[in-house]
């Protein structure tokens, strides 16, 4: 296919297969080798660029989704050949050593400062957590960002993008760009093999790993307004399937109503992944270690599946049918996730287990919700992910706790029961112990004041 997009304010026209990585297009077709490949799976940030102003990993962006959009790379930072103030701060603070992470690190810092001109240290850490550096210990990089901010570094808005225009050339490999939901559903009706693509953060690494050419037909979901929006309707929170984890994490509505979902969103990968990965993609990709499904299970969410035939709402419990399988029919599209407003007094907790604080593939996700009514636990819902092929609720445990009075003995029993119910294939004892402990931590919040 042939398409146009802007790179550092200049319109370029590129030909290539729809799923060709933006990284390869930049490096090989456009000769912009400042963007580096460190891992090819979105786990290092060396290839980070800005897409319409947002930080993304260019190894996770398929070419067809760049059409009509604006890309900023390190080469655009100092077109006149003299360092921009952020680059100068990197040089002066010793934030550059081997230099391989530097372009991505500078782009991540630029994205942060565009949104937040005077970030605190914690915010800098979070903004850069998807960009690995092995040389500096990060400290000089933090100082550089702080230094640039203190000097009043101003980031211009992203340069404009050219008009969206695409020509499909290659017969076998086709990309669809529906502009409306009916159009998308019609495409799915005609081509049940077309793979809907949202953030592509799971799809591209899977293809790279398998060395596969990928599906013959792909359909871009990012242009569908119907998949957007975070709103409350009659006591139900409606989350567009196309909303990214970044927007969920930022949404005051989500944060207020469902803190566990907000925490979950902020725990996905790093910023560049959160900017691309969508709730719908996470649900439909159905990875056993996906972050959001246990949250949706614990919150009694429903998936809205739409086809030309009509709309059906599927409870979270029935959404994931087997390892990497969902209840979605090939002609259906997940358009939204609905979460009923919690009963007053409901407490939630989101726990994730991993070796570090960002870029974590969860080894155990545990999400709990419950409230106290007349001194007894009610509405107890406990869901787990990463410990079985399919995320699920611990129903025996819920039944055990429902209506019970919070006291030490019940917590002890619940811990034991949680351990019994967790049966991961590997690291079994450890993950059971942690699961029990975290259930205990959640329940204990009603006993000993925090």
């Amino acid at each position: 296919m042939i398409l146009s997009f802007a790179v550092n304010g200049k319109t370029v026209t590129v030909e290539g297969p729809p799923l060709r990585r933006l990284l390869d297009v930049l490096r090989e077709d456009l000769g912009l080798t400042g963007t580096k490949e460190g891992c090819g799976e979105g786990e290092c940030g060396a290839c980070a660029v800005l897409l319409d102003g947002h930080l993304v990993n260019s190894c996770l962006v398929p070419l067809f989704q760049v059409a009509g959009r604006s890309v900023e790379t390190i080469e655009g930072m100092a077109p006149q050949g003299s360092p921009d103030a952020l680059q100068r701060a990197f040089m002066d603070e010793g934030a550059v050593q081997c230099g391989f992470c530097t372009p991505g690190m500078v782009m991540a810092s630029r994205a942060l400062l565009r949104e937040n001109p005077s970030p605190r240290r914690k915010e800098i850490r979070t903004a850069l957590a998807g960009n690995l550096c092995r040389c500096t210990g990060y400290e000089p990089i933090f100082r550089a960002v702080e230094g640039a901010a203190a000097a009043g570094y101003e980031v211009a808005p992203p340069p404009p993008a050219p008009e969206f225009r695409v020509t499909c050339t290659e017969e076998g490999r086709i990309a669809f760009f529906p502009e409306s939901l009916p159009e998308a559903l019609e495409i799915l009706r005609q081509h049940p093999d077309a793979v809907p693509v949202a953030g592509a953060t799971d799809l591209l690494p899977d293809l790279t790993r398998g060395g596969l050419p990928g599906p013959h037909r792909v359909m871009d979901l990012t242009r569908l307004e119907e998949l957007r929006g975070i709103r409350e309707e009659d006591g139900v929170l409606v989350l567009g399937a196309g909303e990214t984890f970044a927007s969920l994490g930022r949404s005051p509505l989500v944060r207020r109503l469902f803190p566990s979902l907000g925490e979950c969103a902020a725990s996905v990968g790093g910023v560049a992944v959160q900017n691309r990965a969508t709730l719908g993609g996470n649900v439909m990709n159905a990875s056993a270690a996906a972050d959001s499904p246990p949250v949706l299970l614990a919150l009694d969410a429903r998936g809205v599946l739409v086809s030309g035939e009509g709309t059906r709402e599927v409870p979270a419990k029935e959404l994931w049918t087997a390892y990497r399988r969902t209840a979605r029919r090939p002609d259906e599209l997940l358009t939204a996730v609905k979460i009923p407003r919690p009963a007053p007094g409901t407490r939630e907790a989101f726990f994730k287990l991993g070796p570090r604080r960002a870029l974590v593939i969860s080894r155990l996700t545990l999400v709990c919700a419950a409230r106290l009514e007349e001194g007894r636990w009610r509405g107890v819902r406990i869901a787990v992910g990463s410990v079985a092929p399919v995320p699920h609720r611990l129903e025996e445990l819920e039944t055990f706790l429902e209506g019970r009075v919070p006291e030490e003995g019940a917590v002890r029993e619940a811990r034991r029961l949680a351990e019994d119910l967790l049966r991961p294939r590997t690291s079994r004892e450890y993950r059971r112990d942690v699961g029990g402990n975290l259930v205990g931590r959640f329940l204990s919040s009603w006993i000993s004041p925090r």
Partner: protein, 762 residues
């Protein structure tokens, strides 16, 4: 030479800062080369066996590619390193999963992948040895007569040690285990080879040691010296990982370039890099120590075991440094160290920042904590009572004639972190404080520097700029900035008049490899000699021009002077005479220290020219439910003689300390039952992110050394030695659990707690 400039100790911008921060720096994968082909490797899927043959599927059009197997090699089938046991391509025996069996070059990546998929190796599998235990048992012998790749005995005679043990009030024993570690340089391994019309080859790549690659190519291809040129591309991190492995990749790329007659690029994907490049040697170290009741050491026996992987590579040298650092920063009147590296059917392990010392320093530091625990004194106090002081003797027999920095760094670190008052008080908050004291010898071990006999040249180039010709490479650590600083200091030049470009073996002399914390201390000292030689030659030219007799113009304190000759600075002379001086070259050569001696056979003497010292205090929080660690605050104090560039020096300490904390904490790397790494992607091999890095306080202390230029000592590796034991010590303070194995993953800490290895009062 008297220091003349004011460049040393200043913090100019890095020489490579702009090209890197602007994205213009060209790493090997960024090079644009017309007609480039892509190279790839067919690898063994079995850990041990016999290669009976490789068949080619007929469905593939083999005329589109070139294939190289062991039978096509023009020279001996060996990657020249310490020994010759490491084949370029398996000819018969296969010894690890991933061992190269054949090479393919193709015009594009798709064709390459198809060709590799159409080659079918036939390997008859044999029983493999995968663990140190199996290698030690020796039921299956995979290397030599007994699986022993290297062995050393170091220190006092057994009788003397036994006698010293008899004077001990107490014997303390402990066993300490460390796992693999991956360097995780952000830029994966990569090499491009270009065939030359004269039959020679030119190789450009991501590498630390151009002459290692040069010699490996010479041996493998049977080419004369001048038909090979090895150039360093901008290198995105090394940490030792680009010391030995680039020789393998360079030979492979060169073979394909010669076979195809085209430039061939081999850049490893991260997965391939993680699976098959070298790692830090796993270790088991046993300590048995005689102590007095006041905590002073009187005798020690240490047994060191390293897992070398399938071939020798650097293991004997790594093991040697590990053995020599086995008693750390402590005085032990009688000590004996035995050390062995064993072969297993796993990818060969190799050089990694610290080079054996992080393993043995982890063991001795933990053991000092164990002694403190058993005697009921504090970890700080047991270190104070035993740390090395001037005049003390190391197990290798070396007497410390200079003031060691041990006490200085220990006291400074503990004061900065308020260790003395806070240790033992944080457990109720789920936090703990840990301490480590460590040492690192600068430069090659023993007579290594004398054998390398390093050379450096400086040449006056166009425009009166001085070029440093040294094979030392910039890989992020700052060589391209600090070597010019040393040269500028020596010549009294402003920094912009002297530079050190990326080396190529057809341009620079062999200054030795860029390893062993030797670039500043050893190469820098040779550079000063080269500068002196250049100044002397300039003085001769000045005499000639002025018609003065030889010896009348001298170079002293940054000035050329002589009777009837107006005093001039080096810069002034360059400004005035740059055209006439262009091409003038000063040469330096390693000058041995007459008072330092090493006996290779007895494995005894002055093991290192000088030592650098460090102390860490780590504050950790332990999640009581997940058993995972959070690094709260870390204090790192180092004594490095003189800091050439304090900001870059701090950067080395900060980065090395975090790498060490990753080694001790989260960097879990294990093998499966086929000897394959289980964590072979960045999604499974975890290094610290910006959210995991602790608040870090770095302080540099200076006790100028007579062994390095302007007092400077080694720095690069030192910071990797202390993080892991300090972290383990902090976890002990937080939980009461004595940790003797790293990495301290949540799972491991859970297992320790479950097994009741706690001193918690019940």
């Amino acid at each position: 030479m008297t220091p003349t400039g004011n460049v040393l100790g200043s913090t100019p911008r890095r020489a490579d800062a702009w090209e890197k921060v602007s994205g213009r720096a060209e790493y090997v994968d960024d090079l644009s080369i017309p007609g480039l082909w892509f190279g790839g490797t067919l690898r063994s899927a079995v850990p041990r066996g016999r290669l009976r043959g490789i068949s080619r599927r007929e469905s593939f059009d083999w005329s589109r590619v070139v294939v190289v197997t062991a039978s096509d090699l023009p020279g001996p089938n060996e990657v020249a390193m310490v020994r010759s046991d490491h084949p370029i391509l398996a000819a018969d025996a296969v010894n690890f999963v991933g061992q190269p069996l054949a090479l393919v070059a193709a015009p594009d990546r798709q064709t390459l992948a198809a060709a590799l998929g159409a080659l079918v190796p036939d390997v008859e599998e044999a029983p493999a040895v995968l663990t140190l235990e199996e290698a030690q048992e020796g039921r299956t012998v995979i290397w030599g007569a007994d699986n022993v790749l290297a062995a050393y005995v170091l220190g006092d005679e057994e009788d003397a040690v036994a006698e010293a043990f008899s004077r001990a009030d107490r014997i303390v024993e402990g066993t300490y285990t460390t796992g693999y570690q991956e360097h995780l340089y952000l830029e994966p391994q990569g090499m491009v080879a270009l065939p030359r019309e004269d039959g020679g080859v030119e190789v450009t790549g991501s590498l630390q040691c151009p002459y290692y690659v040069h010699r490996a190519l010479q041996r493998a291809l049977g080419l004369e010296d001048h038909r090979i040129a090895v150039r360093q591309a901008v290198t995105g991190g090394g940490f030792g990982g680009k010391e030995d492995y680039p020789s393998v990749l360079a030979i492979h790329a060169a073979l394909l370039a010669r076979a195809s007659g085209r430039p061939v690029k081999m850049v490893l994907g991260r997965n391939e890099d993680l699976r098959f490049s070298t790692k830090r040697h796993p270790s088991v170290v046993r300590h048995r120590t005689g102590v007095r009741s006041d905590g002073t050491l009187c005798a020690a026996e240490v047994d060191v075991l390293f897992d070398g992987g399938a071939y020798t590579t650097m293991s004997p040298v790594v093991l040697s440094r590990g053995a020599l650092h086995a008693l750390g920063a402590y005085r032990v009147p009688r000590a004996r160290v035995t050390a062995r590296a064993l072969a297993t059917n796993t990818p060969p392990n190799g050089a990694f920042r610290g080079f054996g010392a992080p393993q043995t320093i982890f063991a001795v530091e933990r053991h000092m904590d164990l002694i403190a625990r058993e005697l009921g004194i504090s970890p700080l106090e047991v270190r104070r009572r035993n740390l090395l002081r001037r005049g003390d003797r190391l197990p290798c027999g070396q007497i410390l004639t200079e003031e060691p920095g041990a006490s200085l760094v220990l006291e400074r670190a503990q004061a900065l972190a308020k260790y003395e008052t806070r240790h033992g008080t944080l457990r109720k908050e789920g936090r703990g404080l840990g301490l480590s004291l460590f040492i690192h010898g600068g430069g090659f071990t023993g007579s290594g520097e004398e054998k390398i006999d390093g050379r450096v040249a400086v040449e006056i180039g166009a425009g009166g700029r001085v070029e440093i010709l040294a094979s030392s490479t910039e890989m992020g650590q700052g060589a391209a900035t600090v070597l010019p600083q040393i040269g500028a200091q020596a010549l009294g030049l402003p920094l912009d008049r002297i530079f050190h470009p990326a080396p190529a073996t057809d341009r620079v002399p062999d200054s030795g490899p860029t390893v062993a914390s030797r670039t500043v201390m050893v190469v820098g000292r040779i550079l000063v000699g080269a500068c002196e030689d250049l100044a002397a030659k300039v003085a001769r030219r000045l005499e000639e021009a002025a018609g003065l007799p030889e010896g009348s113009v001298t170079w002293r304190e940054g000035t050329f002077r002589g009777p009837g000759f107006p005093e001039k600075s080096f810069e002034g002379v360059l400004d005035q005479w740059k055209d006439r001086l262009q091409g003038l070259r000063g040469e330096g050569r390693y000058a041995p220290f007459p008072d330092l001696h090493w006996d290779d056979d007895a494995y005894r003497g002055d093991a290192y020219k000088d030592y650098s010292w460090g102390a860490n205090v780590v504050e950790v929080a332990v999640d009581p439910d997940r058993h995972t660690l959070t690094l709260c605050a870390v204090t790192a104090v180092v004594e490095i003689g003189r800091a050439v560039h304090p900001l870059l020096a701090e950067g080395q300490v900060a980065g090395g300390t975090l790498q060490a904390l990753g080694y001790g904490g989260m960097e879990d790397l294990r093998i499966d039952d086929r000897g394959r790494y289980l964590q072979d992607r960045l999604s499974t091999y975890s290094i610290p992110t910006a959210l995991d890095a602790p608040d870090l306080v770095v302080e540099i202390a200076e006790i100028p050394s007579p062994r390095g230029p302007f007092g400077a000592k080694g720095l690069g590796e030192l910071p990797i030695n202390g993080g892991a034991p300090a972290l383990a010590s902090a976890v002990e303070d937080a939980t009461g659990v004595f940790i003797s194995t790293i990495p301290i993953t949540g799972e491991r800490l859970f297992a320790h707690r479950r097994d009741g290895l706690s001193d918690e009062p019940s």
